[in-house]
C-alpha cells in the first residue's frame, strides 16, 4: 500500500466518523484537530476502525502519530505493508 492509499483509508474512516464535515480539502501536513471538529472519542473511533476494518493495532503511546494525514501515512503504511496489504 502506498502512502496515498493509506491516507485514503484514513479519509474513508474520517468521512464516517465526522459525516457533517467537508473533508475534501484537508491539508495533509496540518493536524486534523486544527482543521475539523474532532475530539478524543473521535480519535478512539479512528483507532477502532483501523482495528475492525484492517486488523491494525495502534497502541495508546502511538496515538500521537495519528495527528495529521501525513503522520498517519508515515506511521500506518509500514503496518499495512507488514500485513501484506
Amino acid at each position: 500500500m502506498t502512502k496515498d492509499e493509506t491516507k485514503q483509508v484514513v479519509l474513508d474512516i474520517i468521512a464516517d466518523i465526522a459525516p457533517d464535515e467537508d473533508i475534501s480539502n484537508l491539508k495533509p501536513d496540518v493536524r486534523l484537530r486544527d482543521q475539523m471538529q474532532l475530539d478524543s472519542m473521535d480519535f478512539l473511533d479512528i483507532v477502532m476502525e483501523l482495528r475492525k476494518r484492517h486488523g491494525i493495532e495502534v497502541p495508546e503511546a502511538d496515538y500521537i502519530h495519528l495527528a495529521s494525514l501525513d503522520s498517519c501515512a508515515d506511521y500506518l503504511t509500514p503496518k499495512f505493508t507488514a500485513l501484506g496489504k
Partner: protein
C-alpha cells in the same frame, strides 16, 4: 407551618408518535381513526409488528450527534426542542441553570448493549472491539443528558425509571421540582426506544403477551374479545411545565393545569397487575386533586390489550367510576400506536389535551367485539364523541414491578 403550593401549568408540547410528529397531526389522526403500526424486522426474531416513529431526526441534530448518541436521546432532543418552540418562551435569554430535564424511561441501555454484543460476535467475542461509546450511551441518564448537551441546559437533567408508568412520572416529578423551587422551567415527560431491542420483544413473546394480527393496524385492540397482546412501539412526548405565575407573566398559552396525582406500588407481583392498588392510586389522585370521580370527564386507560391486564384495569376503573359518573368518558390510545412504553403516559395525555378546546373525546379503535368484562360505562368506541364538558382528564399509566401512576390535568381556569 402553612405552605401554599404553587399551581403548575403545561405551556408547551413536543412529541413524536407512530402516527404523528406534532400534537396537531397526532390529534387529527386520533380523531380520524388513523393508527401507525407496521411490520419490522427484529434481530434474531424475524418480522414482527411495531410502532415506528418517522420524525426528522436531522431537524435538531447533526449526523455525528446521531451517530454518537442513542435513539432515546434523539427522540428526547426532538421532543424537547419542539416543546420549547411550542412554549414560545424566550429560551435564549432564559437562565439555563434554572431549567430541569426529567425524562421518564421504561428501560435504557438494552439497545446499545445488544448492538455491542452483536458487533463483537463478528469478532469471536473479542472485547477489544467493544465500543468506547458504550458507557455514555447506556448510562441511565443518557436521554436527558443528550437534551442538556443539545440545548446547553445546565440545570438538573436525569431520567425517572418507572417501567411503563414513566411518562406520567416525568411530569409528576417535574411538578414537584417546580413546586420546591428547584427549577423555573421543566422539560418533562417520557420517551422510548424499545423497538430497537429484540430483548423486549422476546421477553413479551416468552410471556405470551406479544400481539399478532395479519393486519398491523388491527393488532393493538384493547377491550376487544380478540385481543392477544401488546404491540411494542417507540415514541416520546415532552412538555414544558412552569409555575402558573411565571406562565401568566409572560402571557404563555396554557394547555392545562396539573390537578393532582398519585404514584403507588402493588407490592404483590413482578408482572401481574393489582386492580385493588390501581383503584387506590386513582382514588388517591382524585383526593389529591380535590375532585370526585364524577368531576373527571376523560379517563385515559393504560390498557395494553393483554387478555387479563385489560380486565383487571377495567375492574379498577369500575370500582371508582362505575356509578354516578354520567359525564365520564373512557378511551385508550394504544389501539392506534401500540404501547410506547416509557412514552406511553406522556403521549396518551397529549392526545387528549386538545379535548379541553374541542370537547371531543377520541375513541378507542379496533373494538369489533367488545369484551363484556371490559364494557365500562362511558367507553368511547371506534368513533369520536362530542361531549358537553371536558374540565378534567385522568391519565393512568402502570408498569412492571407493580408501579402505578395516575395524573389528573384540569382545564386552566384563572
Amino acid at each position: 407551618m402553612s405552605f401554599k403550593s404553587p399551581r403548575i401549568v403545561i405551556t408547551g408540547v413536543g412529541l413524536t408518535a407512530p402516527n404523528g410528529n406534532t400534537l396537531s397531526e397526532f390529534r387529527q389522526n386520533l380523531l380520524n381513526g388513523v393508527g401507525g403500526i407496521e411490520k419490522r424486522e427484529i434481530r434474531y426474531m424475524g418480522e414482527l409488528l411495531a410502532g415506528v416513529c418517522h420524525y426528522d431526526a436531522l431537524k435538531y441534530q447533526t449526523k455525528k450527534e446521531l451517530r454518537v448518541g442513542t435513539r432515546a436521546g434523539s427522540i428526547s432532543i426532538y421532543c424537547a426542542r419542539e416543546a420549547v418552540a411550542d412554549s414560545k418562551i424566550d429560551f435564549a435569554a432564559f437562565p439555563k441553570d434554572r431549567i430541569g430535564i426529567y425524562v421518564g424511561t421504561t428501560e435504557h441501555g438494552n439497545v446499545e448493549t445488544e448492538n455491542e454484543v452483536y458487533a463483537i460476535s463478528k469478532f469471536n467475542y473479542d472485547t477489544k472491539y467493544w465500543s468506547h461509546y458504550h458507557n455514555p450511551r447506556t448510562v441511565s441518564n443518557n436521554p436527558a443528558g443528550e437534551v442538556s448537551l443539545n440545548l446547553g441546559i445546565t440545570g438538573p437533567a436525569y431520567t425517572v425509571g418507572a417501567a411503563c408508568a414513566a411518562g406520567n412520572l416525568g411530569l409528576i416529578h417535574a411538578a414537584q421540582m417546580l413546586r420546591l423551587g428547584e427549577v423555573d422551567l421543566a422539560i418533562c415527560g417520557g420517551v422510548s426506544e424499545s423497538i430497537h431491542t429484540f430483548g423486549i420483544f422476546a421477553g413479551f413473546k416468552s410471556q405470551n403477551a406479544l400481539a399478532s394480527h395479519p393486519d398491523p393496524l388491527k393488532a393493538s385492540r384493547p377491550f376487544d374479545k380478540a385481543r392477544n397482546g401488546i404491540v411494542i412501539s417507540e415514541g416520546g412526548a415532552l412538555y414544558t411545565l412552569e409555575r402558573l405565575d411565571d406562565a401568566l407573566a409572560r402571557g404563555a398559552k396554557i394547555y392545562g393545569e396539573i390537578g393532582g396525582y398519585c404514584v403507588n406500588s402493588d407490592a404483590s407481583d413482578y408482572v401481574l397487575p393489582n386492580p385493588g392498588r390501581q383503584a387506590e392510586c386513582v382514588k388517591k389522585a382524585l383526593a389529591n386533586a380535590r375532585l370526585a370521580p364524577r368531576d373527571i370527564h376523560i379517563v385515559n386507560t393504560h390498557a395494553t390489550a393483554t387478555p387479563m391486564g385489560d380486565i383487571q384495569e377495567c375492574e379498577a376503573i369500575r370500582a371508582v367510576f362505575g356509578e354516578g359518573c354520567p359525564d365520564t368518558y373512557i378511551n385508550n390510545t394504544k389501539s392506534y400506536i401500540g404501547h410506547c412504553m416509557g412514552a406511553a403516559g406522556a403521549l396518551e395525555l397529549a392526545g387528549n389535551l386538545p379535548s379541553f378546546d374541542d370537547l371531543v373525546v377520541h375513541p378507542t379503535i379496533n373494538v369489533d367485539d367488545l369484551d363484556p368484562q371490559c364494557a365500562l360505562p362511558g367507553l368511547v368506541l371506534n368513533h369520536p364523541k362530542k361531549v358537553g364538558k371536558v374540565d378534567a382528564i385522568l391519565n393512568n399509566s402502570f408498569g412492571m414491578l407493580g408501579i402505578n401512576s395516575t395524573l389528573i390535568v384540569k382545564r386552566f381556569l384563572p
